[in-house]
């Protein structure tokens, strides 16, 4: 049986998947060896997150919801690191809680450990657990926890323990971070770094303190409406939000002792090339479709 010769149009519409995946892996790998700084215009929602974090009073702690794990490290990890770096530079105490995934508290602790190593390397004081920050841990019920935090945060965290400076487990509410917190409004803000539905759960239930969010790109459009309506005081979305925060940090803290550019600067140029590849693939598929149609019409006539 004679082999049917495929036209260029047909070939363009059916590029083999392994070829496409190989090109994609090359496009997302090689540029990472050659980092290029990109110009950036910060979005207003990212600006508002930055303004919130850089203007909140230093004597009030921040409550952080850390609902992300390594599966979204590319986006959530970068956003979380930027936020923690800002808080550390301003000597603001913070407490971290999780309602989405039991792995999340450990992931957050690992990031803080890395940032502390970075601070030590730059001759800055490391952030001490118990004195400067505490991990409140994991809560199994997001809805009940959010209600409880809004109505009686001391009761919500009453059973949780954290190691103190000497390593002994003690109730988190006894820590210098939370000792003066009587209600959720005693936190200067609740900043939620999330890759899950806990964004909606928190918006629906926590109303007594300022709320800001750092979400993944896929959650951006659905969360943007809460920012536009004023329910969120700031919103950083995905890698763009991360790069926005890093750009603004570099402007505010230009000194060499500060690490400002991280995940955002590392991944943003590569993302552009990956998107360019996607656009080229769409164009190739459409050109192929029109070529095939034209050929079919010519044959018919």
């Amino acid at each position: 049986m004679a082999k049917v010769e495929r036209s260029l149009g047909e070939k363009l519409q059916s590029l083999p998947k392994p070829v496409l995946y190989t090109i994609l892996i090359l496009v997302t790998s090689i540029p990472q060896f050659f980092p290029v700084p990109l110009p950036n215009k910060e979005s207003k929602s990212s600006e508002d997150v930055f303004n919130l974090l850089t203007t909140i009073p230093e004597d009030q702690p921040v409550l952080i919801g850390s609902d992300w794990t390594n599966s979204t490290r590319g986006e959530s990890g970068g956003l979380f690191k930027s936020m923690i770096r800002i808080l550390m530079r301003r000597n603001i105490k913070f407490a971290i809680y999780t309602t989405a995934d039991p792995q999340a508290p450990q992931v957050a602790k690992d990031v803080i450990r890395l940032l502390n190593e970075e601070r030590k390397a730059n001759n800055q004081k490391p952030y001490e657990v118990w004195t400067d920050w505490v991990s409140v841990g994991y809560f199994a019920n997001p809805e009940g926890t959010a209600n409880s935090i809004n109505n009686n945060v001391r009761a919500a965290f009453a059973d949780k323990k954290s190691p103190d400076a000497a390593g002994a487990m003690k109730p988190v509410m006894d820590s210098p971070v939370l000792a003066n917190v009587k209600q959720v409004s005693d936190f200067s803000a609740l900043v939620l770094v999330t890759a899950s539905n806990t964004s909606n759960v928190t918006i629906e239930r926590v109303t007594k303190t300022k709320l800001a969010m750092m979400v993944t790109g896929v959650m951006g459009p659905e969360t943007q409406v809460y920012y536009e309506s004023g329910q969120l005081k700031g919103l950083a979305i995905g890698l763009k939000g991360c790069y926005d925060l890093e750009t603004m940090m570099a402007k505010k803290w230009p000194g060499k002792e500060y690490v400002n550019m991280d995940n955002g600067a590392k991944y943003y140029p590569t993302l552009h090339l990956a998107l360019l590849l996607l656009i080229l693939a769409v164009v190739a598929g459409n050109v192929g479709m029109f070529m095939t149609r034209k050929r079919t019409v010519q044959r018919g006539s």
Binding site: P102, P221, V225, Y267
Partner: protein, 250 residues
């Protein structure tokens, strides 16, 4: 063991797991299955331990047996409340969903959860959508001749609030687009009235097209996020593990 070597071994396992999980893109294979089951097992094991240590132990078990605070703590001594033990049979009833004869028992905990959930819904709904409905009333006339909103980074909170209180020309245009989008998208969902009027018909068509634009934006964000996750994995393999780990010595 040398901590640096241990770190490299751990990262090497991470690289194998990453390559194994991505190998499904070529075809279903045993290498992929192995790492998939490894990941599921680890996640499930971690979740079970975390549920006990971070949730059930402190929020349930300690409440049954009571709590004597450690030396130096200001927390009061709390007596044990045996009634918390009643939560266990209620929870176990949920598993009777697998029994044909006694599955009615599973409806009791489901009913309790539904009741608690339903009781919150009025307030929850309003907290979520109330401010959005109020914010739908937007100014469409500018209050300043400046076209764009200025950047507020570095401004004092008062100056930033003053800058944000103005309706710039670009804001007014955005608000007009918002208003048209809102009305046309809502009109698309008016199924109980037959759209005979030409204007209303065109509104619903416009609503459908704008909804598609919205879905397109959501799809675009999704693609960007997936690319970022892939870029992060490639960074882990090529930069963190190979360049900095194996060949960089850090």
């Amino acid at each position: 063991m040398d901590p640096e070597l241990l770190l490299k071994i751990k990262m090497g396992v991470g690289v194998l797991a990453t390559v194994g999980l991505y190998s499904v893109l070529y075809r279903e294979n045993k290498f992929y299955r192995f790492w998939e089951h490894m990941f599921l097992g680890l996640a499930a094991g971690w979740a079970i331990v975390a549920l006990w240590t971070e949730s059930l132990h402190d929020d349930w078990y300690v409440k049954i047996v009571g709590n004597a605070p450690e030396a130096g703590s200001t927390a009061p001594t709390t007596p044990g409340y045996w009634a918390y033990v009643l939560l266990l049979p209620i929870g176990i009833m949920g598993y009777f969903v697998f029994s044909r004869k006694h599955n009615w028992l599973s409806r009791i905990p489901i009913g309790i959860i539904l009741g608690l959930w339903s009781g919150q819904q009025v307030q929850v709904w309003f907290n979520r959508y109330g401010p959005q409905m109020a914010d739908s009333i937007k100014p469409i006339l500018p209050t300043t001749s400046s076209f764009f909103r200025p950047g507020t980074v570095g401004m004092s909170p008062t100056d930033a609030a003053a800058a944000n209180s103005q309706v710039y020309v670009s804001d007014a245009i955005t608000n007009i687009i918002f208003l048209i989008t809102l009305l046309s998208a809502v009109s698309y969902f008016l199924f109980s009235v037959e759209m005979k009027n030409k204007f209303l018909k065109n509104m619903t068509v416009l609503g459908r097209m704008l909804l598609m634009v919205g879905f397109g934006a959501i799809f675009g964000s999704t693609v960007m996020m997936r690319f970022t996750l892939l870029i992060d994995r490639m960074y882990f393999i090529f930069i963190e593990f190979l360049k900095n780990g194996l060949f960089g010595g850090t």
